[in-house]
Amino acid sequence: MTSEHTTPKLERCSRQKFLVWLSVWGLLLAWGLYGAFLCLFKGLNQTGMNNYFVFGLWITVDLAIIALGAGAFFSGFLFYILKVDHLKDLIGAAVVIGFICYSGAIGMLTIDIGQPLRGYFSFWHANVHSMLTEVIFCITCYLFVLTIEFTPLILENKRLSEFPLFKYIGENLHGIMAVFALVGTFLSFFHQGSLGGMFGVLFARPFAYRTGVAIWPWTFFLFILSAIASGPALTTLVVWTTQKVTGKQLVRRSTLSKLAKLSATLFFVYLILKAADTVYWANVTAPQMGFAFTRFYQGPYGMELLFLELFVFGLLPAVLLLIPKAREHDFSLVIGCLFICMGIVLNRFVMTVQTLSIPVLPFEKFVAYAPTWQEWAVAAAVLGYGVIVYSLSYRYLHLFPREHELNA
């Protein structure tokens, strides 16, 4: 596999047009960096968070992009381990998206914690019983694995591979990529789960608490399932948009619909389990802790969020994408994938922000959360950073092997 690939000339738009494109997203990145500087220099009072809402927009975005970034490990797992060959077209794109999501998430986390310079304390003085320790260990390792998966793509760039050392490193890495895919899968399995476990173990927050097996609450498995369901959906979306923006045919249309089908089936399974978990929690777990189900939904975030999550952004896209004919039309494909991703973002929002809005002390009150522009800026910066990295890698690296064949 390594030898026969040649690095044909990539036709890309003019450098000048590309710079304009970069500068637009660069502006977004700059605005975000300014927001981040304010939060670091003046302190976290710049955000809309307070002692009730200790987690805000950033945690929701973090959890969401890590879940959506699961496309990297899952397609890697399918391609390298289960040898699903039609994924070969977009494995490169998936890895780049995964790298962007994880590095963006970790960037936001360093700004989100109050003392970034002490970040390594979670490694040095680790509390092994905490889900967050597990998340921090796994996300850092997996980011390292993702960089390793990203380097062969870089080293296969035409100009770099002229240097023999880089060429051989690229090839050899590509050779044992299966090992990294396996390690990546294992790590991702744990931290996607632990991100769910982080809120499932809070036995003092009845809205988020779930019983489970051994030390893992059910949300541990639900988060994994929802991550591997939404990962491919995001990959499909990004690849489809790249094709629209560049006007080129990059992957076979069948690959996209196969991926969407895979994502829909997994999402459907996830919805069934989630519904079962919600029913059990509403009738058994919460009442034991003294909370009737309706009690959770009096405040600013009402029952409609649950309806939206399970039906509008849940059942609808899953069913839509399971219909073969629907998958053919671009419009329904994009809407389906988009709704699946939105469903995951909403689920992450409900598990973090809504949990904190519900009072547990009987004489405390419901509170609402409003992020400040600095928070939006940092989130936008991650988006800007992602688009810039993706555009650069699309322009200079050979992400889509079938590009020539399809556009010949």
Partner: protein, 796 residues
């Protein structure tokens, strides 16, 4: 950037080698660790230095309660204040204000150097001057007044404490030739008038709450600062029967649910302003059911039965008056308190002797009229509860040696003859001693303000404004930059009680004599001085008889001279304590004054332990408490009849008179609320106390008034809405907070807000409730009556 391949490769090799080398050296790893350590010791985070620990006792002088405090010191820094376990008044209890007093001592609103005002009074600039210049300037002003033959135009307003420094001010004015020495009215001063009228004594009232079993409280905020706050807290501490307490029952009678009402055994909601009717109705039940102390009433009271006066005219007695007009049925209509509740309370009052009927709303200084307090006091007489354990006593004088008489020259004699310019002791207000809220500003040339804030705290707003417009020269002796000193001409920084020598006699409501002496715990932080020393220097500057009236070098000598009286009296005890330098354990033994061999031993013990008291010396003999012409308790006050020449019997006896109807459009009733965390006597409130305010009292700079939800609905207002609260005297902008504890038709506004001076933590927060109260004067006692004012509310 077309670096050719060869150099690029060399660059890569160089970078690779360097990176590997650095990674293998400890530098990056130790740098990461040191940066983390750096975040643990940021230079801008304060690091309080350790030092020699020590404990000292002192007296808290923020209010008149005179609680004893323990102050923990580290080297010369005061670190914490806590109640003194051995002090007879508060026995370890302390209110939040006393606990946070250090924030005022070290606070940003302290006056630091003498300042003279330059520019207009509206927006003054201040020029720092030396103490010598300041003293010379004040002496010059006084000398000009005397030269112009108007020494009586020198006036002074000071706080209500009985302290030597206040006596120095009175003495200074006396020596200069002016009677206009005014003290702000203290909490239970109205009761002194009642005692003067019904018992013929001119002492403060005292309650033996520790031995009482039943308190019938007419609107007194017992647990929010009424009387001596520390003492009331301590009484409440061992009130419950669960831990062997003496199960003191408290019945709270007031229109709105206060903290006291919530903690009371029973709360009786009453229509505002009708307490007198309820008291007399309770008297009706006591008399009609024969539950009153017959022997005491027959032998020791006058005017109970109908009687004939000297020229044969028939006079109605208290009994027939009460039985005639105050039956529970008819009083139910007036007070909206059900008749059966009145009977129940009366029977409980009679059954749980010794019982006390307490008057004086809020912190004790608000009342509807003297007749209301007389009605409440007559209940105590009916129960025969005078000079008996658990009953009414008088405040005993502390046997201090009085200062040598004032020497007056001829000019001083002239000035002294001219009557007071605040109308106290005049024909209209014969019974009053100090009426600062009635001061005629036109008649004052030089005003000395000592440790009070009349511009903020005087209930009569017209006079408060007039003082600072018409009086040409005002000197402010103040530790803090408050509203009054901002509008003064000269600010003289005065050391706070923790930095100076000061004393304090008695405490509101305490039956036995108490003397508190506070010594400096720390050297003055700034160029502040003791007000007594300043007066001595001014007197020396003036020379003549004024200088001779101040024979001491400093205040300590005077204190020492006065304390000699205590030593010679040979009575009372000092709780001498040895600190074992931790928070809790201190062993203290009350040592008799007699047991001190020399006066200097006594003086050193008194300075160290700050408190002398004589628990045995109480007015437990009726002769001591009944000094009317007939040596009897007078239901019908002959003194009232003589001084005011009332012909109608009713006006000489406690009775209830219908308050005037509300003016047009003002259908609500605005009542003040006394928060324990806010200083409402014009003093500043420390930041940590403002932190304690919940956000439905103060939100950013908006003050909340409390209204019943139904009243708010009628007015079409929602919770949290911005409104204008208007009374005939003024209007303020506030926000609404609906609370079911407030009676319908009543608006409750907290006191202590709306400061324009002090520091950024207190300035411009809320509005000064006094702006809309504008006190009237009680016809009999002349004291300010502002317990409520009619008002209206409308959207902004």
């Amino acid at each position: 950037m077309n670096v050719d391949r060869r150099t690029f490769v060399k660059g890569m090799a160089l970078a690779g080698g360097g990176a590997l080398g650095i990674m293998l050296s400890p530098t990056p790893w130790y740098l990461i660790r040191d940066l983390a350590f750096w975040t643990q010791n940021w230079p801008w985070v304060p690091a309080p230095a350790p030092g020699e620990p020590s404990f000292e006792k002192s007296i808290c002088r923020i209010c008149d309660g005179g609680c004893g405090i323990n102050v923990r010191k580290v080297d010369m820094r005061l670190v914490r204040i806590d109640g003194d376990k051995e002090h007879p008044v508060n026995q370890g209890s302390i209110c939040p204000m006393g606990a946070a007093a250090l924030q005022m001592l070290y606070g940003p609103s302290r006056t630091k150097v003498p300042l003279r005002r330059v520019g207009p009074r509206e927006n003054p600039e201040w020029r720092p001057i030396t103490w010598a210049e300041a003293i010379r300037e004040v002496a010059l002003k006084v000398r000009q007044l005397r030269a112009a033959g108007r020494p009586h135009e020198l006036a002074c307003i000071t706080n209500s404490a009985h302290s030597t420094v206040n006596q120095f001010f009175e003495r200074f004015l006396h020596a200069v030739g002016s009677r206009n020495f005014m003290q702000m009215n203290s909490a239970l001063e109205a009761h002194s008038t009642v005692l003067a009228l019904m018992q013929g004594v001119d002492e403060g009232i005292a309650y033996d709450i520790e031995n009482a079993r039943y308190l019938l409280s007419f609107g007194c905020n017992l647990l929010e600062g009424w009387g001596a706050c520390g003492r009331m807290y301590h009484a409440h501490a061992n009130r419950s029967a669960h831990e062997g307490g003496n199960s003191l029952e408290i019945v709270q009678i007031e229109p709105n649910l206060s903290v006291t009402a919530s903690k009371a055994s029973r709360w009786i909601p009453i229509k505002p302003g009708t307490d007198a009717a309820l008291a007399l109705s309770i008297a009706h039940v006591l008399i009609s059911d024969g539950l009153y102390d017959k022997t005491f009433v027959e032998r020791h009271t006058f005017g109970f039965e109908d009687w004939k006066d000297s020229d044969g005219k028939r006079r109605r007695g208290f009994k027939s008056e009460v039985l005639g007009r105050y039956s529970p049925r008819s009083v139910e209509l007036i007070t909206q308190v059900p008749a059966n509740v009145i009977e129940e309370v009366a029977h409980e009052f009679a059954a749980n002797q010794p019982a006390l009927a307490l008057g004086g709303r809020c912190d004790g200084s608000l009342f509807a009229g003297i007749y209301e307090l007389m009605a409440i006091h007559s209940l105590n007489a009916l129960a025969g509860n005078l000079s008996r354990p658990g009953g009414i006593f008088l405040q005993c004088d502390v046997p201090l040696k009085s200062l040598s008489p004032v020497k007056m020259d001829e000019q001083a004699e002239q000035g002294f003859a001219i009557p007071r310019s605040d109308g106290a002791g005049s024909k209209e207000h014969p019974l009053a001693r100090h009426l600062p809220h009635n001061l005629d500003a036109g008649k004052v040339g030089v005003l000395l303000i000592h440790e009070v804030n009349p511009s903020y705290a005087l209930p009569n707003r017209k006079v408060a404004r007039a003082i600072f417009e018409d009086i040409p020269y005002i000197v402010s002796f103040s530790s803090f930059i408050d509203e009054s000193s901002m509008q003064a001409d000269l600010i003289l920084p005065i050391s706070t009680p923790l930095e100076r020598w000061d004393d304090h006699t008695g405490a509101p409501g305490i039956p036995y004599p108490i003397y508190g002496l506070s010594h400096p715990l720390v050297n003055p932080l700034y160029e502040s001085r003791n007000a007594g020393d300043v007066l001595i220097e001014i007197a020396r500057e003036l020379g003549g008889t004024i200088a001779e009236s101040f024979p001491w070098n400093n205040t300590v000598e005077a204190l020492r001279e006065r304390a000699a009286g205590l030593y010679e009296s040979g009575t009372g005890v000092i709780h001498t304590a040895e600190f074992s330098a931790t928070y809790m354990s201190q062993t203290a033994t009350p040592t008799e004054v007699k047991s001190f061999p020399t006066f200097s031993d006594f003086w050193n013990a008194l300075v160290k332990n700050c408190c002398w008291s004589d628990p045995q010396c109480t007015t437990d003999q009726l002769e001591q408490t009944l000094k009317t012409p007939g040596k009897k308790f007078e239901f019908f006050s002959q003194r009232l009849q003589k001084t005011f020449g009332y012909s109608n019997d009713l006006e000489c006896m406690p009775h209830y008179h219908e308050p005037p109807p509300n003016p047009q459009g003002f259908d609500l009733l605005i009542m003040p609320e006394n928060l324990i965390t806010m200083a409402d006597n014009g003093l500043g409130t420390p930041p940590l106390l403002i932190k304690q305010l919940s956000n439905d009292v103060l939100s950013e700079n908006d003050l909340f008034v409390q209204v019943n939800p139904i009243t708010a609905m009628y007015q079409g207002l929602k919770d949290g809405e911005s409104v204008i609260l208007e009374s005939p005297a003024g209007k303020v902008r506030v926000r609404i907070h609906t609370f079911a504890g407030v009676r319908e038709g009543v608006v409750l506004i907290p006191l202590g807000f709306g400061h324009t001076a002090y520091d950024r933590f207190l300035r411009n927060k809320g509005v000064n409730a006094l702006e809309i109260f504008d006190a009237k004067m009680d016809t009999v006692s002349g004291l300010a009556v502002w317990w409520a004012v009619p008002g209206k509310i409308y959207k902004v």
